[in-house]
Symmetry: C3
């Protein structure tokens, strides 16, 4: 198995594990764990394949991805009490998944269209949509509405990959650079609490006052 | 019209009726009834067709499905006061819809890919996604987060259909077995209150304490 | 650029601006503005293209749509304090976007299938789905659950376009009629507070009492 294929499965497994963790917070049954694991693990790649017109989508062509989600969900179901006390480990695994996925989404978008803009969009979309679905279905506050840097890390990783790729670096080197860049941004946000300035309504002009 | 085609329209109509019932709980207008009826009635099949690459999706090829949703929505709008006092009837109709749909989703997944794993996934997805969308859009607690057995019934029905089909039973017989199995599980859950053991955080280790 | 192409970009820009306004209400950072702007601006057209089997979807074929969303998001980020005090202007721009989009969605549905029913459904879906996604992701009450006439305006515009088109009016004239009809309905709803009678549970039979 190539390193890229390994990263692909590892990304699915890690995102599936975060979906199952969400299920543990809601105290669902095993099937609920598997459902949220599958949605989170394959949701981003499914949307990517749909918008690019790459159908049937990847997990229909290769059901191994489903089995990876099932295994990850079962493991979390029986070990979540360990995972929970190691929540920071899981957040960092999620950061690895995000980093791998933004590059893979960008690589597939670039291969399908040749457009750097589309590659960056599909990179960010692949890395973030699974988590968005997970939060919607588990009725948790969306990662989008949290102040910490998240989507940005995926955008940075996809941009670095696309830029490095345009210099005729081999796919391998561009991918490694993109993954490292995304992980540096997301890891920095987790470690140092990096945020961007957020929009603040002017005093006396809060949206809710005037709408 | 064949029995399978009848079940298909009946499934759409029943799910559409549950969407319209959701609209009645939110006291929407007629258009709101029709919108939720259509989303619930055709949502699961739409996602199934998209991931399998069967596009245009079924209701674009055959707009009769839209008309079935409209008729179901109108009927519920004018008769919901009867339906509500007969909510258990509707839950049982929903169980019939779930049973029919998990088999049809599995049959279409199997026909498109030949993979039993994919057939089971598309069966469960077809039977449950419409209801998930309905709950998201109507801002109701998702059926996924309720303790009662629901997704499992769809999985059982799809598995039984796939297994029976592999024994070279005719499509008709496999379908009937699958529908019966799903209905037995979902009906049992409704009648006897069947649930699975759900995940419980260890005392003193509740997820919210440590996250 | 033809008038239709101009309307198309203007519609994306206006919907993207409403997404970014949602981000300002949640006090997100710039990336959050861009994300909600893109989802709202291109969400409806993406679903339309997917169900019609027109893949890759429109913004993959022409990334200018992404850039339009980015520009709209950036402008709103830096000027939202003006927009908020001009919220009614934005609502009216949204009405223009809805009016343009229901006709374009219907035109694409009609071109792809020849079915008036499908054209009306894709028209309504294109005009409303972006806003539905925006409200889901921003955790705002869905426009679907508000009493004011909204989906209906899109349906009326799509119906008028389809009917006018069937009389062999040129595309240009049918489109103008459809846009005008949708805007008249939505504008009237905003100006005069038009609503439809909503479903009311019978006294003593409120849904929540019996479910």
């Amino acid at each position: 198995m190539s390193l890229l294929a390994f990263l692909d499965y590892a990304g699915v497994a890690v995102f599936a594990a975060t979906g199952a963790l969400s299920a543990s917070r809601k105290e669902l049954d095993l099937i609920g764990f598997l459902f949220l694991a599958a949605v989170t693990g394959i949701g981003g790649g499914t949307l990517r394949d749909l918008v690019l017109g790459r159908v049937p989508v990847f997990w229909v062509l290769n059901p191994t991805y489903i089995l990876v989600c099932v295994v990850a969900g079962v493991i979390v179901f029986f070990t979540a009490h360990l995972f929970e006390s190691r929540y920071r480990l899981l957040i960092w695994l999620d950061a690895i998944g995000l980093s791998a996925y933004c590059v893979m989404g960008a690589a597939k978008g670039l291969a399908a269209t040749g457009s750097p803009t589309i590659a960056i969009v599909t990179g960010a979309l692949t890395a973030t949509f699974g988590g968005i679905l997970r939060d919607l279905l588990a009725n948790e506050p969306s990662v989008l509405l949290r102040p910490e840097i998240y989507v940005t890390a995926a955008l940075v990783g996809a941009c670095v990959f696309v830029a490095a790729n345009a210099t005729f670096l081999p796919l391998y080197g561009s991918s490694a650079l993109g993954v490292a860049a995304a992980f540096a941004v997301r890891g920095g946000a987790l470690w140092f609490g990096w945020t961007f300035p957020s929009y603040k309504a002017r005093p006396g002009r809060h949206p809710d006052d005037v709408m």
